[in-house]
Symmetry: C2
Amino acid sequence: MDQEARVAEPDEAISVDELQLAARNHGMPLEALRYDVTPVGLHYLLIHYDIPDVDPATWRLDIDGAVERPLSLDLPELRSRPSQTLRVTIECAGNGRARLLPRPISQPWLVEAVGTAEWTGAPLAPLLAECGLRPDAVELVLTGADHGTERGVEQDYQRGMRLDDVLAGDLLLAYEMNGQPLPPQHGAPVRVVAPGWYGMAHVKWLQHIEVSTTAFRGFQNATAYRIRQGDEAGEPVTRMRPRALVVPPGFPDFMTRERVVDTGTHALRGRAWSGAAAVVRVEVSVDAGRSWADAELDAATGRWDWVGWSYAWTADSRGSTEILCRATDAHGDVQPVEQPWNRQGMANNAVQRVPVRVR
Amino acid sequence: MDQEARVAEPDEAISVDELQLAARNHGMPLEALRYDVTPVGLHYLLIHYDIPDVDPATWRLDIDGAVERPLSLDLPELRSRPSQTLRVTIECAGNGRARLLPRPISQPWLVEAVGTAEWTGAPLAPLLAECGLRPDAVELVLTGADHGTERGVEQDYQRGMRLDDVLAGDLLLAYEMNGQPLPPQHGAPVRVVAPGWYGMAHVKWLQHIEVSTTAFRGFQNATAYRIRQGDEAGEPVTRMRPRALVVPPGFPDFMTRERVVDTGTHALRGRAWSGAAAVVRVEVSVDAGRSWADAELDAATGRWDWVGWSYAWTADSRGSTEILCRATDAHGDVQPVEQPWNRQGMANNAVQRVPVRVR
């Protein structure tokens, strides 16, 4: 069975298969960038198979494998552990995919697959310590309850994560989102939150953590979430690349979403994030990329959520233009204006372009 | 300015404009038909322009026009009125549009633009009585705070509704959804709920009700939400036509959403609704429409929400098939297997088809 997803022909428009994924898996409407914390229902969603019907009353989490003392917890037991609340921005690794040419055929995100929530749950590291990791443990295999086929491979959604990444991070087993029990579509009753990582690491409907002595070679690690040009192994998708987004100014046209603004000064606002290091700079172009100016960054509200930014745009000439913005993080990583192509459309952080008509 | 939306060429696939609408405006994942009341975030959403940023602290609703005593209410005043909670199914009038051939270019719904919520608010009829309707009053003009252009017409979203329809219905000015304050995307702080009607009548972010002595001729009534073949006036879109949907059985393929089930008996479950009259019959076909059998209807849970149904499917031969279902209401209106085409893709209630592979 061929495990490669298809790449569209150069002139091939969006298919019904892609559309039915877009109708299920929604982005965050960009005006929702106005909220520090994304309200439930506006946060992006990417569900590989179906939302499983997990009964919280009978749910259990098993932690086993290369541990001294396997652990099995029900929901009240997990909730009785010390809890932590983290504000975390999560972006889908496929965000921007549908802007690549040729277009890799999968969930056809444009630029909106992101959201920020306050996640409450039990930190994972103390639970692993309680189990007693064996010296040969190298990786966790996290298994969700969602089940389906993908490029011919029948599977429960599973992701491996290296133990050093787990222990260096602030991973949570989250049971609340924005102060409410997790909604079904965000992984009820319990999901992984892996701050700084693209969405594929935040396993929803978590049911099993196996501590493994070898690197996990399952579909989602070895095949799907990799940056590659062809059928070589490529590089794994890990932390979110820097990205800035702007709240589209003015008002939209229903069909084209082009914006209309009046001449005058407009307080542009947006958000920026990077999974690898703090965002240190956001630049804005109001002339379709010909020139750039620095935006003002708000004070950071945490390590793992987006930072706000603002820029006063004086729109003094009528006509059409494009607004662009780009982020730079403390590692010096800058968003590209044009994205290098990759076979599966992963981690495309090319700058957002907002068509605007000044009247 | 031409006020006609475009119709796609017969072989024209989905455009980026349509895709960006699909990324914003999401349907209800069909497995969420399992919930009597759709959890927030899974209910379908159709937002013509942007989600407006309405401050509940300064929000006011003005009721004026052909009344003896104009009324202006803030949110605490509206909340102090007697309240009612109704369970209401709402479907977008454009549901099914993207299945028409040729495809009218607009929000490209397939079959999933529906949801059921418990809406709490103040009944509208007593507020109108309080204002004292003048004898020449014939219609309400309901204005939301969302603003944009549509086919060249700049507008706040506005809908007219005939007074006799308003007074014969159970219209609410809703401020809660599923027991919580309305989320921004569903019209916070206050929206109209017009039980039985397609979604366009349920004006979100309500700010003004004008009682009018003439029929409203605005864009959303006179141009957009009409069933017509060309540029004739056509018929207005009003109440939801009957429709049944089935929870897709088994598990899906990520990309095609085709289902896989094992041979054996499967308890098919679904929902059905009609805005004009109660659903009295649901039929199921498990052989792609060649034969039909009656499903069993659950007891109705209310007048305005969907009714559950079930059907035991014995899948005894391997291979591919399609599952179809269709509803009939008390007026004798039956869902069509093939939908007659209309220019704007309105009220397409052609039966759902679920491709399934039995293994």
